[in-house]
Each structure stands twice: as structure tokens, then as C-alpha cells.
């Protein structure tokens, strides 16, 4: 391999001393500027050709009395629109997006693994990469793809070869999880739901106690934030599974809000 082609973080690069690695430098002019220039030219050509060939969409004038079916948010928000199937709007539209932004911002402060700083590696930070890629590829990219191509009128699910029938009838047989488990009284259901959710989050202290030796360098506060964010993300998945697999509507029903 030529010297230029060495993969960052490769064995022979790591064999160098730190001083050698950090001081192996080249001039920005011309080595970086020429690349930036090339990059800019390529992107410009692509954008110009694309704009000549494909016109931006423009539909009928805005008309508040004609609702198109399906009405879809812009494509990058379709993941959130998809969440509306599983959660009430206050969760799907407000609480979860806020948690996504806060959670993303928190990443540098909750990932205490000093390894893998500035080079590609999978095996030195398996958990972090797995979690991030799961959120990015499955909960974000895939939801956008599904929302764009597989969700038709009434936000019903259609396979790619199916006709988008606006009159498709989908039986709404969803029931609440506590009801399914046999609780019939109103407060019994509420209590059951609360216990289920508490149990879900009780895994957090339980894991901490089980692995307390390992948790020493993480710290209690950091661990709590990290684990709650993670369990919330997994909670979304759990709710999706319950909904798709068992037709569960809510886990927790209270007079004020439902989850």
C-alpha cells in the first residue's frame, strides 16, 4: 500500500509512536484545498444536473377544505409521524423528539469509553456503535423509508405491490395491556400499568447493583441518565412490538394521559 492509502487506525499506523502519529502533517495548500475544490465541483455538477432534469413539485393551490389522504409530514419527519401509531401526540410529537435531541447532545457526556477517539473501530466500542446505529438506521432511516413508501391512505400499511386503496378497512381491535392481563376495574388497570412501567425502569437500578464493580468509572448520575435514555429508546421498540404483535393500545391509562 502506498503511504497515502493507509487506513486510519490500521495496525502499522498504530505501531508508530504517538509523537509520530500526531506530527505526520501535510500542507493544507495544496493537499486539502484541492480536495475541497474537487468536492465542491462534483457536488455543484450533481446539483445543477439534478435541478435541470427534475422539477420541484408544485401541487394545487392551498385549500384548507380539501384534506389529501394520506397527509404526510415532510419526509425527514415521517419517523415521528410513524410514532403516532404507537403513542399519543404528546409523546410522539413533543416528549420523544425532545428526548431525541437531548439524548443526542448527551452522548459525549455519557460515553466514558476513552478508546476509539478519532479513528474507526468497532470492537473497541461495540455497545456504543450498536446503540447508535440501531437508533440511526432502524428508528430513523428505516422509519422514513417505511413512512414514504409503505404508508398509504389512512396511514395504513401497504406492501410495495399493493394498490393504495383509500377504503381499506383495518379492524381496530386494540385493547389496553392491563385489560388483556385481566384487570377490569379502572384503578386496577391504572395501577397495573404503572407497575409495568416501573418494572421496566426498575431494570436500571437492578443492573447497577448487579454490575456495581464495573460501574465505578461511570458514576451513579451518569449511569442513571444513560440507562434511562437507553431504556426509553428500547421502550419505544417494546411498545411497537406490543402494538404490532398483540394489538395493545395503551400500557398505562390514567385520567390525565395514556402511554
Amino acid at each position: 500500500m502506498a503511504k497515502e492509502d493507509k487506513v486510519v487506525g490500521s495496525a502499522d499506523e498504530m505501531a508508530k509512536t504517538s509523537w509520530e502519529r500526531v506530527n505526520d502533517k501535510v500542507h493544507v495548500w495544496p493537499y486539502l484545498t484541492r480536495l475541497e475544490f474537487m468536492c465542491a465541483i462534483i457536488i455543484t455538477i450533481l446539483l445543477v444536473v439534478w435541478s435541470i432534469v427534475i422539477d420541484a413539485p408544485l401541487e394545487e393551490p392551498a385549500n384548507p377544505s380539501v384534506t389529501p389522504n394520506p397527509s404526510k409530514a415532510p419526509w425527514y419527519f415521517l419517523g415521528l409521524q410513524e410514532l403516532l401509531v404507537y403513542f399519543d401526540p404528546w409523546m410522539a410529537g413533543v416528549v420523544l423528539p425532545t428526548l431525541i435531541i437531548v439524548g443526542l447532545m448527551a452522548i459525549p457526556f455519557i460515553d466514558v469509553n476513552p478508546k476509539g477517539n478519532g479513528y474507526y473501530t468497532f470492537h473497541e466500542r461495540r455497545f456504543a456503535i450498536f446503540t447508535f446505529l440501531f437508533g440511526f438506521l432502524v428508528l430513523w432511516v428505516w422509519m422514513v423509508v417505511q413512512g414514504t413508501f409503505l404508508r398509504g391512505p389512512g396511514w395504513n400499511f401497504f406492501m410495495p405491490w399493493e394498490y393504495w386503496d383509500p377504503h381499506k378497512v383495518v379492524a381496530l381491535t386494540n385493547v389496553d395491556l392491563p385489560y388483556m392481563l385481566g384487570f377490569r376495574s379502572y384503578w386496577g388497570q391504572a395501577a397495573c400499568g404503572a407497575v409495568l412501567i416501573l418494572l421496566w425502569y426498575a431494570t436500571i437500578p437492578a443492573y447497577y447493583i448487579w454490575r456495581r464493580e464495573r460501574m465505578k468509572n461511570v458514576g451513579l448520575v451518569r449511569y442513571l441518565i444513560k440507562a434511562s435514555l437507553n431504556m426509553t429508546m428500547m421502550g419505544i421498540v417494546a411498545k411497537m412490538v406490543l402494538r404490532i404483535g398483540l394489538n395493545v393500545k395503551y400500557v398505562l391509562v390514567t385520567p390525565w394521559f395514556n402511554i
Binding site: V8, V22, L35, D55, P108, G116
Partner: protein, 262 residues
């Protein structure tokens, strides 16, 4: 008397331009390939001086940065330029907005092209930001000392999405108002602040005065919403985004340049 051929000597002409006082006043350095001149090319140029003069060898590999931060910035610049052109023709008023877009498409010189560029660059920017974030994560570049720049980055991501979303309404067609209706309906469900959100009764918000109506300037996506989104789209959000980008770039330098194995 020199012959015609001698007087049309190209080398001679080039030298007299490059040596002229006017040229020298604008461009201090030629392309002389010396280490000193390479450094001066960067530090004496306003546009290039954001760069360090020397950079670690791995950092210029496409494979390392995917060039995605730079591409995002380039697309942002294209959006500013094409956006200003569109502003010459567009009025954010219920009666005019749609007609102005039609005029832009059919009568304004290069109107359709400018609109297409603006639209597609906006989509591309969203994708480029995502890819940039993915690569920053995969190289672990958010780890100390770059934690704060990651936080700035997340804000930039949010602002990019907001820019795209506020712009979506401006053509004032069916696609626009219904997408924005779907998107802003959620605000109605904000806990405490939305008229249909949990605990709304306790706060006493009504559909006319809650989080959603503050955003829309009314109870439906109507002309007041158009004006609000226009101001947000053309002034408020781009201004904040531009300021944060300056901070972002400055922090890259202050955090020791592009990350790499230490």
C-alpha cells in the same frame, strides 16, 4: 521599434499584469511552490484562513471525513444564494404566494432552475447533515475534547430540519399546508402548553391561545402562519444557524483540528 510578435509576447503580458500595482494589491502571493508560500496562501486569505496551515495526513482522506461537513456547508451557501434570488420574486401573502411561485416557474428568467436548486439543495443538506453526524459518531470524534462541538452540531442538525420545515410551507400549495398541518398538530398536544395536551385544563390554555396557535398565528395553517414561517425561514433560523456554524468551525480549530488517533 519592437516587432508585432515581440509586443504580443504572452509571457511578457502575463508578467506585466502580475507585477502591476493593482494586481499586487489584491493578491500578495503567486503560486510559487515553496513551503513558505504554501503557508502564506492559507493564512493571508480570508476564506482559507479558517484552515490550519498544516494538517494531519489522515485528516485529508475522503475515507476519514467523507467530506460531509464541508458538503453541508457548501449546500448551505447554495441555499443562501438561490434563496435570495427567490426572495426577489416571492411575497409571503396568502393571495400572492402561490401565484408568485407560478410566475417564478414560467416567466422569471431561470426561475424554475433557481427554485429547483433551492429545493433539491435543501433535501440534500438534510441528508448530508445526517451523514456528517454518522461519520463523526463512527470516528468517535465527539469524545474529549470535542464534546461541546458535538452539542453545537446537534443544534445545527435541529436548525437544519427547522429550516427545511419552515421552507416547506412557502409554496402555499396543497403539499405545503397539509404537511405543515400534520407537523404542527403535534404542538397542540404539548403537555401543559397545548390545548389538547395532558394537564391543559390546569393551565387553562385554549385552542386560540396555546403552543400551536403561537406557532401558527391562529387556529389553522392560514396566511398569518405563512408570514410567520417566512420570517423564521428567511431571517431567524438562518441567522442562528450561521452564527452556530461560525462557532462550530472555530471550535474545530480550538479543539486541536480534525480528530485522529493520539
Amino acid at each position: 521599434m519592437p516587432s508585432l510578435k515581440e509586443r504580443l509576447n504572452l509571457d511578457q503580458m502575463k508578467r506585466s499584469v502580475l507585477d502591476s500595482q493593482v494586481w499586487r494589491s489584491m493578491f500578495r502571493h503567486g503560486y510559487e511552490d515553496t513551503p513558505r508560500n504554501r503557508v502564506l496562501m492559507v493564512v493571508d486569505n480570508l476564506w482559507l484562513h479558517l484552515h490550519p496551515t498544516k494538517i494531519r495526513r489522515h485528516a485529508i482522506r475522503i475515507r476519514f471525513t467523507w467530506c460531509m461537513g464541508g458538503v453541508t456547508f457548501l449546500l448551505f451557501l447554495y441555499l443562501v444564494v438561490t434563496g435570495v434570488v427567490l426572495m426577489f420574486y416571492y411575497r409571503p401573502v396568502g393571495e400572492y404566494a402561490y401565484a408568485d411561485i407560478k410566475y417564478l416557474e414560467f416567466d422569471a428568467p431561470f426561475g424554475m432552475f433557481m427554485r429547483n436548486m433551492h429545493r433539491w439543495a435543501a433535501h440534500a443538506m438534510v441528508i448530508a447533515v445526517w451523514l456528517h453526524m454518522l461519520r463523526v459518531f463512527m470516528t468517535g470524534s465527539y469524545k474529549p475534547p470535542r464534546e461541546f462541538n458535538w452539542v453545537i452540531g446537534v443544534l445545527l442538525l435541529t436548525l437544519t430540519l427547522l429550516l427545511s420545515f419552515t421552507g416547506y410551507l412557502l409554496p402555499w400549495d396543497q403539499l405545503a399546508i397539509w404537511a405543515v398541518t400534520v407537523g404542527t398538530n403535534m404542538a397542540r398536544a404539548t403537555p401543559l402548553l397545548g390545548s389538547e395536551g395532558p394537564f391543559a385544563e390546569m393551565v387553562g390554555v385554549t385552542p386560540r391561545f396555546d403552543a400551536r396557535s403561537a406557532l401558527l398565528g391562529g387556529t389553522i395553517v392560514g396566511p398569518p402562519t405563512l408570514l410567520r414561517f417566512y420570517v423564521l425561514h428567511c431571517i431567524v433560523v438562518p441567522l442562528i444557524a450561521a452564527i452556530l456554524m461560525m462557532v462550530h468551525f472555530w471550535r474545530i480549530r480550538k479543539d486541536g483540528g480534525i480528530s485522529g488517533p493520539l
